[in-house]
Structure formats: C-alpha cells, structure tokens
Amino acid sequence: MVSQIDKQIERQFRVEQFLYREADLLDSWEWGKWFELFTEDVRYWMPLRRNLQRRERGTGQLPTGLEMALVDDDHTQLKMRVQQMSSGRHWAEDPPSRCRHLISNVVVVEEDEAKQELVVRSNFIVYRNRLEREVDIWAGNREDTLRRQGDSFRIASRTILLDQNVVLSKNLSVFF
C-alpha cells in the first residue's frame, strides 16, 4: 500500500525531472526534441508585465482579451519559431547563444485526475551568453499545465511571466 505522501513524492520527482530534462534540451540546442514535448492544443504565452497603480493591480489584467503579449503562440506558431531556429539564417541565434535554464521552486498547484493534468508553477533564471561578451539574465515565473502521457508529460499550456517591465535585452530570441 503506497501512502499518500509517497505518491506526492513520486509525483514531485517526475514533474521536476520532466522540467529539468526539458531545460536540458533547450540548453543543448535540441529545439526539435523540445518542441515534441508540447501538445497540439498548447498555448505558449508570455504576457506583458505592467506597472499599474495599486488599486488597478490585479484588476483586469486582460480587460479586453486583446492585450499585447511578448509571445502568444499556438502549436503552429511555436513550430515556426523552432523551424526558424534551425534555418541556419536566423542571425539572432546563429551561431546559437549559450544558455543555462535554471528551474527551481517547483510546486504542483493542483491536479485534475479526470483530465490527467497537473498545474505546476516554477521559477526560472535564464542566463544567455551571446557570441563574445554579451550577457542577458532573465528571471521569472512559469505556470504550466502538464498532461500525463505514459510515464511522462506533455506541456498543454505555458504562461511565462518575465520579471521585467521594459525588456532589458535586445531581443527574446530564446525559449523559456
């Protein structure tokens, strides 16, 4: 008889290992394999981080649903980005940047047994060293919906919250 706590430990272990291996694919420039981790109904979304007055904070983050985002991709768009990375002519990442995705504070927020889905939050620091001396460091938080598939998961949605208001880099040409 497996106890409840054992189940949670195993679930936590599987989730963390999944996220670490995903990060490893990105840092190894294996964008094609990385893309296979996403479901076809995925929304890969990086909304803006806004400075609002206290009383307006949290109210209507998306008042019209039309708010601009840094990234707002479906499966097709994400695939085009991955193809661009592999095109040999995407100069922003060719030669590729050296990146380090550090994933931490992994918390399973909820689990939907019926849908076989987990909502998982994690923090990230992404270090990018580009060409010679250029360095960008981005920190933020992700909220993923992970859908169970066999022993592993697929990412059914990802919301990336970058902790920068004005993006402090010349582009965001890497994946988060």
Partner: protein
C-alpha cells in the same frame, strides 16, 4: 568635461582623397595642416553659456556648462551630398547631449493615441527625449502633458505606466497635482511655508505644445515650432493611407511592448525611414520563409525635405492567409480603396522626423526613446481599425506578437544587428573613423503624379535616410528652429513639378 581624446575626423585608410576644400576631414601631422588640425580640435569644443553667440532664446537649454560640438565639426561628420556619415554621431556623448536639446527639445514627439486615454483622468507615462512625461486626458476632453517631476525636488509624481486618476502625488514630501499639472496640495502649507508658497507658480512643467493628427497626439517643448501638420507635411498623405482606411479610424491595442537596444536611436529611425534593403538579408529566416519574396520593382521609396522617409510595397504580401485578419482585410479592401486608393494595399515603413515610425501593413507604431548615446528603448504600439470585429483584432494581436516585438520572429534579427553595431562603436577606435555609406538611391527623384514626396521607383533606397540626416544636421547646427520655406520644401518634395 573637456574631451582629451576628442575624436578627429581622420579617414585616411578608408576614403578616397577628398577635394582640396575639404581639409577638415583630411588632417595631416605637419606644417600648416597640423595647425589646421589643432584649429579643428578647438572648434569642436565650444563652452556653452560662455560664448556670447550661444544664446538659446526660443527653447529651454540643458543648462550649465556643456561642451557643445561646433557646427563646423558636425557638418564635417554628415556629408549628405557625398552620402557619407561619420558614426561619431551615434556614439559621441557631447553630440548626444546637444541632440537632447536641439532635436528632442524642440521637435514634435509622439506621445499617445486618443484611444489609449479615452476618459477624463486617463493617463499614459512616456518620455520626450530623456525626460519622463505624463500625458493626461482633461475633464473637458482636451489633452495635456507635463514633466513627470515634482517642482520641489524633481521626484516622479507618477510611477504607473498608465491608468486613471484624479491627481498625481509626490511620495517624497507629499506635493499633489491635478491632472492638468496644477499644484493643488502642499502638506503643512501654513506652518512650514507660512502660506508664502505660490501654488500657481509651482505647477508641473508643461509640454509647451500639444497637437494631434487623426488621433495621434504629439507634444513639443518648443512653443515657437511650426504646427504639427506643417511638420508632417506630405507624409500625412501616407499616414492617411493607413489610419483613415475605414470609418472610425484606428485604435491602439492595450499594452505597449518595450525593450532595450544597446545602440543609438537613429539607427532604428533611419531604418524605418526607408531601409527595406535589409529585409531580404536580415529577415531571411522569417520574412522570406513566411511570405513571397519581393524585389525593388515591387515598390518605391519617398523622401521629404522635412526629414521624413517612407518605402512601400504596392501590394500586400500576406504572411497568413485565411485567418480572421486576412479575411477582414479582404472584406474591407474595396471600401478602403474608395477612401485612400492604392494606399489601401501598401505594406510600408516610415519615419516622421525625428523618432516616430510606423509599419503600415504590420499595424505597428514605433517610438525610439533615447537612453544615452548608445542605448535606446523601442516602444511598440499595435494598431487596428477601431470598428474591426473582435476576431480580426485578436488575430492582429497574435500576428503582431508573433512577428514584431522583442520575441518577434522578424524583429529578433533587427536587435542582433543594432546591438552588435552599438558594441563595435562602444569599443572601437578605428571603426569610429570610418565614413558609413548612404549612397543608395543617389539618382534624381522622378516624382510621381499621385504619390507625393521625392519619389524614386525602387523599393530599395536611402533617400529617406539622407533626408533624415540633412534635417538632423539642420537642427543640430541651428540656434533657432530651422524653419523651412515653402520653396525649399517644394524644390525637394516635388521634383520635376
């Protein structure tokens, strides 16, 4: 801040020998030429405020002692006729300080669009040059703008990027201002100031002029400048072709996308003034993969004496077909053509001098905010037809997020270019002596019976760049607002007329 290493215009290794009259760019080390060289060095440094001829009657000056690059020196850097420009203008600290005063301090700068601040009390925080500015809708529907700096100690009075408010409050000592910038409350006014402080004289510093064109609101710190419409000139024809295609005009989607480039703002402004030449190379992985390729004959470029430039494809090259946006564009085409003719199908890019740009066709407004000689921020606003159906607006938002912005599949490669150029200028010494080449399209403009401006019949060309820097140099070397006569404008904008 005397510049011990003040850059000398030495271009021996790169340029063919210039004409004898152009000694300035050809210093030698001995004899009379050494003396000339020393004179050039001296001419570079004029102490602002000490020389009697440096008065600035018509606009606020940066104040204090500032080393001002002399007009002769500036003119030696920007040779429009030869199509050669020294990159010193993109990196020199003194030139940058002068630019804040003479270009940004007295020009029409884009602040916001009407749709971003529709209600009384709505505000938007932005910048004019390096200065933070708040733009606010007044109870009577008018718009005012003022420096976002308290009159007491210069603290920001508004730290939100946008919102709605009745007042702005300084969190340092508590001075409060209404949305018109009037000082309305000072803590302890009676016991601390004995009621001797004039509220009336201590309002926020207003932006001297606010004018708008079809909902596009511009501000100007110089009360003597010609009107916005006069400044925009015939570029209005092309702006109309974009913002006036359908009844109701445009609106800006919520959320301004902003990011940082370590390079000079003019690199972006000049690109939008007409550099479509970069697209097939820079955007090889995106533009050409997702849409049909284009050639020079598919479009044209125009330049304006006022410093503006635009290039355009005659026909829309749609990246996405059969999505709600394309369906909407197809559906409105006839009506749009009835209003603005062929302009309804343009895919274009333009810069309105100095720092307002647009991408009609990609529905993108840009402002290039300088943050130092070698740093600027891109502020990108996405526009849609106000009366478009929600699904078309949503498709525009998704399309703009995908292609433009710091993560855009098109835009990412621009950041790579600008950032690396900035890095070369930051470190380089020999690289700063180079003269960059701006000779493309250096053939007579033909003019066009329908399309105003100095028209050249290739999508590729740098006439817009040259017009931009011609105007930039006029502002930088002029004590007064460099007014253009109608004759000057016509001679340039209406070739062969």
């Amino acid at each position: 801040m005397l510049m011990a290493g003040a850059p000398l215009p030495d271009t021996r290794a790169i340029l063919p020998r210039p004409a004898a009259s152009d000694d300035r760019s050809w210093p030698a080390l001995t004899g009379q030429k050494a003396i000339d060289r020393f004179k050039i060095y001296c001419s570079y440094m004029t102490i602002q405020g000490e020389a009697p001829d440096q008065g600035r009657p018509n606009h606020s000056c940066s104040g204090g002692r500032t080393v001002v690059p002399s007009s002769d020196y500036l003119k030696s850097l920007v040779d429009i006729e030869a199509g050669r420009i020294s990159p010193e203008i993109f990196i020199d600290e003194d030139i940058y300080r002068l630019e804040l005063d003479r270009v940004f301090g007295r020009n029409w700068l884009f602040l916001a669009h009407d749709s971003m601040i529709p209600k009384p009390g709505d505000f938007f925080s932005t910048y004019m040059g390096g200065d933070p500015v708040v733009v606010a809708r007044q109870p009577d529907g008018s718009v005012r703008a003022f420096l976002n700096a308290c009159r007491h100690r210069g603290m920001r009075v508004c730290r939100a990027e946008s919102g709605n408010t009745k007042s702005f409050f300084c969190t340092y000592h508590g001075w409060a201002y209404d949305t018109a910038g009037n000082l309305i409350n000072v803590p302890n006014l009676s016991d601390a100031y004995k009621d001797r402080l004039s509220l009336k004289d201590n309002g926020l510093i207003p932006v001297a002029r606010i004018e708008s064109y079809k909902g596009l609101i511009f501000g100007n710190f110089d009360a003597t400048a010609p009107s916005l419409e006069e400044h925009l000139g015939d570029l209005k024809y092309y702006i109309d072709g974009w913002v006036d295609q359908v009844d109701g005009g445009i609106e800006v989607l919520p959320g301004v996308v902003r990011w940082t480039i370590n390079a000079n703002w003019k690199l972006a402004a000049e690109q939008f003034a007409g550099d479509t030449y970069h697209a097939p190379t820079s955007h090889a992985s995106s533009l050409l993969s997702f849409g049909p390729p284009f050639e020079g004959k598919d479009g044209a470029h125009v330049a304006f004496r006022e410093g503006h430039g635009e290039s355009f494809l005659f026909k829309r090259h749609t990246r996405f077909s059969e999505d709600p946006l394309s369906l909407y564009n197809d559906a409105k085409l006839e009506a749009a053509k009835a209003r603005v003719g062929d302009r309804a199908e343009f895919v274009a890019n333009f810069t309105a001098f100095p720092a307002f740009s647009g991408l009609p066709g990609s529905s993108n407004i840009r402002v290039w905010h300088p943050k130092g000689p070698n740093k600027f921020e891109i502020w990108s606003f996405t526009v849609v037809d106000k009366n478009a159906p929600p699904e078309a607006k949503k498709a525009m938002q998704v399309s703009a997020s995908f292609t433009e912005g710091p993560a855009g599949v098109v835009e990412t490669d621009d950041g790579e270019n600008w950032g690396l150029i900035g890095a070369i200028l930051e470190q380089g010494h020999q690289a700063r002596k180079m003269r960059w080449n701006y000779q493309m399209g250096d053939y007579p403009a033909t003019g066009h019976e329908e399309f105003p401006g100095a028209y050249r019949d290739s999508f590729f060309g740098e006439a817009g760049h040259r017009a931009f820097y011609r105007r930039w140099l006029e502002f930088m070397t002029s004590e007064e607002w460099p007014v253009l006569t109608q004759e000057e404008r016509d001679a340039f904008n209406k070739p062969g007329a």
